[in-house]
């Protein structure tokens, strides 16, 4: 006869995998990373070679030109890839919500698909599309340049997307935008479905046009989701790693113009073998992400009627 588990013990048994994995792969790395940030250590030298250096790693980071450059790149990329996602996703979701019936799921699927595919495969694909002399993106732009009316916004010469410093970030942003715009659209679609239809009916009876309804009913109702979606974009955008990593071949591109802070942290650890410095970088980035999340919170969080 097997001993029976008492019901009181059951929840603890059920949650034990979470607790064990969380302690070993969650809490411990976090604490250790904090400890490492105050050490000087090269992994090849063995654990005994670890040396306490106080705030040296942090002092080095904040005087390091590459750190500031990477931070600037990260913020630039998060903004330029993030803001357009929402500016496109909100009207797109509204239009799909109001005007699509039968082909609705197909359209949503097409916009959402990039989100579930491998970043590496995608970034490899875009590397060929961005090719200067033969890439399809330049070919399309040059063809558009021939059209009347489009000449002034399209380049006359092929653009060196991934080779020239000032073009690397726009190219990365385009890929990030393409990958996440559908995800945000689906978020806004879900929020739109929760707005009761009779509000619109009442507004129509009061003579409010489509634009007025969008401006005075839809947008205010979407505010909680805008807050949530923008927070996700800020937090995700500031951790950007894979897209720039592949598109710049892991090296950050000309003049490090495509190197994000997460990438710089990875390179500090695994390319330059400085684990202490990399840990310090990761905490600086963490503080920065927390700060910007707090700012987003203040800017977008829906306020109660009293506030």
């Amino acid at each position: 006869m097997t001993p029976r588990l008492s019901p009181a013990a059951v929840p603890y048994v059920l949650l034990s995998p979470f607790v064990v994995l969380f302690l070993v792969f969650g809490v411990f790395p976090l604490c250790f990373s904090f400890y490492l940030a105050f050490q000087s250590w090269e992994p090849t030298a063995g654990l005994s070679a670890m040396k306490f250096v106080g705030l040296d790693n942090f002092a080095f980071a904040i005087t390091d030109e590459w750190f500031w450059k990477s931070l600037k790149n990260t913020v630039w990329l998060a903004m330029v890839s993030g803001i357009p996602q929402h500016l496109v996703a909100i009207p797109l979701a509204y239009f799909i919500h109001t005007s699509f019936k039968r082909s609705r799921n197909m359209v949503i699927g097409a916009y959402f698909l990039p989100y579930i595919t491998s970043t590496v495969a995608i970034a490899m694909m875009f590397s060929t599309l961005f090719s200067t002399d033969y890439g399809l993106i330049n070919q399309a732009l040059l063809a558009m340049h021939q059209l009347p009316g489009l000449a002034w916004i399209t380049p006359a010469q092929p653009v060196d997307w991934l080779g020239q410093a000032e073009n690397v970030k726009p190219a990365i942003s385009l890929v990030v935008f393409w990958r996440y715009v559908g995800f945000n659209t689906v978020l806004y679609l879900a929020a739109l479905q929760t707005i009761p239809a009779d509000i619109y009916e009442a507004a129509t009876m009061d003579g409010a046009g489509r634009w007025q309804q969008f401006w005075f009913i839809t947008l205010p109702s979407l505010q909680p989701m805008i807050y949530f979606g923008v927070t996700l974009s800020v937090v995700g955008g500031l951790q950007l790693f894979e897209e720039p990593f592949i598109l710049t071949g892991g090296r950050g591109g000309t003049d490090q113009s495509g190197m994000t802070t997460a990438m710089y942290m990875y390179r500090t650890a695994f390319e330059f073998n400085d684990f202490g410095g990399a840990s310090a970088l990761s905490w600086l980035l963490f503080v920065f992400v927390a700060l910007l999340t707090w700012l987003t919170n203040r800017a977008f969080k829906p306020r109660g009627p009293s506030a």
Binding site: L5, P7, V10, P11, L14, L15, P17, F18, V19, L21, F22, V24, F25, G26, F28, P29, F32, S33, L36, L92, F95, S99, M106, G109, A110, Y111, F112, L113, P114, I116, T117, S118, T119, V120, A121, I122, M124, M125, S127, T128, Y134, G135, L136, Q139, W178, F183, L187, A190, G229, Q239, M265, A269, F270, F275, S279, S282, W283, L285, F286, V289
Partner: protein
């Protein structure tokens, strides 16, 4: 008279329809060209004009791909890690979700807050020490380093809890307990079968995440014969002379299973992936 006023208002929606449709096509174009380029040699891809339709160099590209990297082996590892990760995640998350949904116990609230809190922790913070732990465990180049650490994910536990709360009545569990069914039996024979729809969704999401995972293997898989697909594809990339046809063939094969999964379960996947936001 009425046609004069309705013409512009009809034109606007039409232009909007056209833009949304054009946008959808643009979203899909990179996938189309991935498959087109997979069937062209490198010199054909870098040609003027670039190829717009399928060619016949797919087998030649596969030849290059399989001689340059152990492609099929990498595909096998991706599949193995994906399946192991899915199985383990379903087990641990259904257990955790069941505990939070159906039991009252001390520390329930703080534990649940903790689970939710782990979702907020940025993954890059643990990157370096995780590598050191894997090194200390001797897990470098071991697939288990990829499927064990994340198996009790907060996302999965939360999703299971929500589903159990809404779909399984507490009375059912109590009745089974009265009838003398053991606790393990209740979980395995009552909860798990009822959880199947939610498990399907979580399983799909877990498999896809594992299949696409790049940073994880980048840190722990150090030898080329242990590379998963994303790492293997990236190892083909070089500053000069990248075999783009072969890379596209590999990318196309890596993307194909995802397209198939998406085609048969897009509704479910989209709902599942955005469930956390909608609640």
């Amino acid at each position: 008279m009425s046609s004069a006023t309705s013409a512009p208002s009809q034109l606007a929606p039409r232009a909007a329809y056209a833009m949304v449709a054009l946008g959808a096509v643009v979203m899909l174009l990179p996938f189309y060209f991935m498959f087109v380029f997979a069937s062209h040699s490198r010199t054909e891809i870098f040609n003027l004009p670039p190829p717009l339709f399928f060619g016949d160099s797919f087998m030649a590209n596969m030849e290059i791909l399989t001689t340059k990297i152990p492609f099929w082996r990498s595909l096998g590892w991706s599949l193995y890690v994906g399946l192991a990760s899915t199985a383990l995640t379903l087990l641990f998350c259904s257990m955790g979700g069941y505990a939070f949904a159906m039991f009252d116990f001390r520390f329930k609230q703080p534990l649940f807050t903790l689970v939710m809190g782990t979702m907020l922790l940025p993954s890059f913070l643990g990157m370096i020490p995780s590598f050191m732990i894997m090194d200390a465990f001797g897990w470098i180049d071991q697939p288990r380093a990829l499927y064990i650490p994340g198996a009790a994910s907060a996302f999965g536990i939360f999703m299971m809890r929500q589903f159990i709360t809404s779909a399984i009545p507490r009375e059912l569990i109590e009745a089974a307990r009265m009838d003398g069914c053991g606790e393990l039996g209740i979980y395995w024979r009552i909860v798990v079968p009822l959880l199947k729809p939610a498990m399907g969704t979580l399983g799909l999401i877990t498999f896809i995440a594992s299949w696409n995972n790049f940073i994880g293997p980048l840190i722990v898989m150090r030898s080329p014969e242990m590379y998963t697909l994303p790492l293997a594809l990236r190892s083909m990339q070089s500053p000069v002379n990248t075999e783009w046809g072969a890379v596209m063939a590999g990318s196309a094969i890596a993307t194909l299973p995802l397209l198939v999964l998406f085609a048969i379960s897009s509704r479910r996947l989209i709902d599942g992936l955005t469930a956390g936001a909608v609640k």
